[in-house]
Amino acid sequence: MSFTLSLAGCSILVQGPHVDALLVPGLGFSPFVDSVDEMAEAGVQLIIREGESVDALSEKDQVLNVFPYPALAATCSFSLAADGGYRFVMSPGPDSPAEFSLPVCMSYVMGSHEVRITPCAEIGALRFVLWFAASLLFTPLQLTFVHASTIVHRGQAVMFLGESGTGKSTHSRLWLRHIPDSHLLNDDSPLVGRSAAQRQGGGDSSDSTSGFDAFGTPWSGKTPCFVPRSFPLRAAVRLSQAPVNSIRRLSTVEAFAALQPSLPPALAQDDRYSALQVGILSSLLTSVPVYHLSCLPDADAARLCHQTIFHD
């Protein structure tokens, strides 16, 4: 069983005994299947194979990051194998769903364009494992996931960043309600990178936008917002809660400190992936302004943010 996703100008062949279950409407993947994208033919071909066998971890491998996945009561670990390849393992715990009874292991060699995954019958685990696979595949292609809620206003994307619970989704909803010509692109994990045309050596250098795009993805957290489109990235805004609304443009160093924690944290523990992430941010920060908005969850916060980004 297989299908091809078109995502950020790349074709991803997803193949395996359990992958058909991902095409159920509402899970996020079907809008990206065979979506019209002239770039896909000429673009990078990536492959994700589920149902494979993967070498077990050994003591020689270096564990880079261990983190919980509470939604499935699971534990994840990301390692650098002794042979230079990467391993990601998602292990069920005593409270995990019955279908998720065995660890799922993933193997990837940077530059190989192919990720192998052991059989995974639990749909939630498979969705997350695919997200992790995509982050391993995309980062060397100068594309990164960002933990953000992202709206589009008059054709330009604005990302809202911040720790979980600080109000990213709330702020997006305030834009949708109070700022005309706004819609949601993604509520949890868009991709960001140079536009597909620019990455393939084309692109219009007289374009006045930043040259960086935000891409809708199949992963949108709790909000089913699956948009197989991209928009020029106008700005990023880090949010924090405060009793009064105020906004400030960040310096390059501050902007880096604001954005870097919103990139996939497990990858930042690896030297090669960290360098790739820093490289993407370095490019992005030369043309995308980053702000810090201290705010209440009210309409004025959205208006202040909109006014500053689009009219100042």
Binding site: E163, T252, Q260, P261, P265, S282
Partner: protein, 89 residues
Amino acid sequence: MQINTQYKLRQVAGENIIMLQGANPGDMTRVISLNDTALYLWNSLQGKDFVPEDLTALLLDRYQVEESTARRDAEDFIQTLQQNKLILA
């Protein structure tokens, strides 16, 4: 003393940045930004075992300053590194 080799200098959009050990994912990453003088000292000390007098000498070598100024700047630089745990004794 030596600089902890775990910490790498990164070029980010024209700035020279060192990422410090973060807190939790999602918290602001703590970074140090090096100006030209700090960058010169950082690069000169890579892989070397040094004492504060070495930094004073490096500064006098490169800049037209009084020795007392160079010594103070060297001490400030070492203190910043120590406060941020970038130095191995």
